[in-house]
Subunit: 110 residues, 2 copies
DNA sequence: TTTATTTATCGTAATATTACTATATATTAA
DNA sequence: TTAATATATAGTAATATTACGATAAATAAA
């Protein structure tokens, strides 16, 4: 019925899915890559760089903030966004371990 | 307007987002983990294991097949699903490089 | 052939997402 | 104070996703 039944999954499964889902939009990938490239940036930079409307960028920034992978500090009239290094490491390892849990060098089955 | 404007992003951004989006649901994470654990399984096993209706599992399997991360071989009346090792490696590296593109040991900015 | 088994597809309702315009909010500059 | 600048929020339309029941399709067993 359109609602994800997160109660029937393990915490790990929900966490992996939540992180992957947040990265699962090209605008958010582009935002993260631009922040990484420039070390930090403000919302307006991303609007110019990516070409979406300002409220749309703001909405994507909010989703990235919700999972804690970026943080924003108010600097005068603008907001400086950057990667939250602790969370970044946590998610890098979470997805890294997920992908390492299968060894692709094993023989194929079917 | 609800439609993702994939034309304004790089191929890499779209590919990262597509893979992440496919993994971005706990049922699909659970499916992948169960296939990994049992080396291969059939749709019915996943229905029992996860507890979603059979058409729902079938729908999630289809999405995973669409990005090529799993493959299914018909065996009599059932279908044997397993990981596609070549695609698995490709996506592992794609997301791995994405996460490695930021070095979290650098000094925080804001 | 008939029946059972297994999976896929169709149709659909509930919900979520994406993008926009308009506007509110908050700080800085004049 | 007023105007300018930057971001967030509200509201909304279009689209996508998720889950289900019903049913089709395809093979195996009786």
């Amino acid at each position: 019925m359109g609602i994800t039944r997160s109660d029937i999954y393990t915490d790990e499964q929900n966490r992996i899915a939540t992180v992957a889902k947040a990265i699962g939009h090209p605008a958010r990938v582009a935002i993260l890559q631009h922040i990484i490239k420039t070390r930090s940036c403000i919302c307006g930079d991303l609007v110019d760089e990516i070409g979406l409307a300002q409220p749309t960028i703001s909405q994507h920034l909010k989703e990235l903030k919700n999972i804690g992978i970026i943080k924003g500090n108010i600097e005068g009239t603008s907001v400086c966004y950057c990667i939250d290094d602790t969370t970044w490491k946590e998610y890098r390892d979470l997805l890294g371990l997920f992908f390492e849990s299968h060894n692709p060098s094993d023989e194929d089955c079917c």
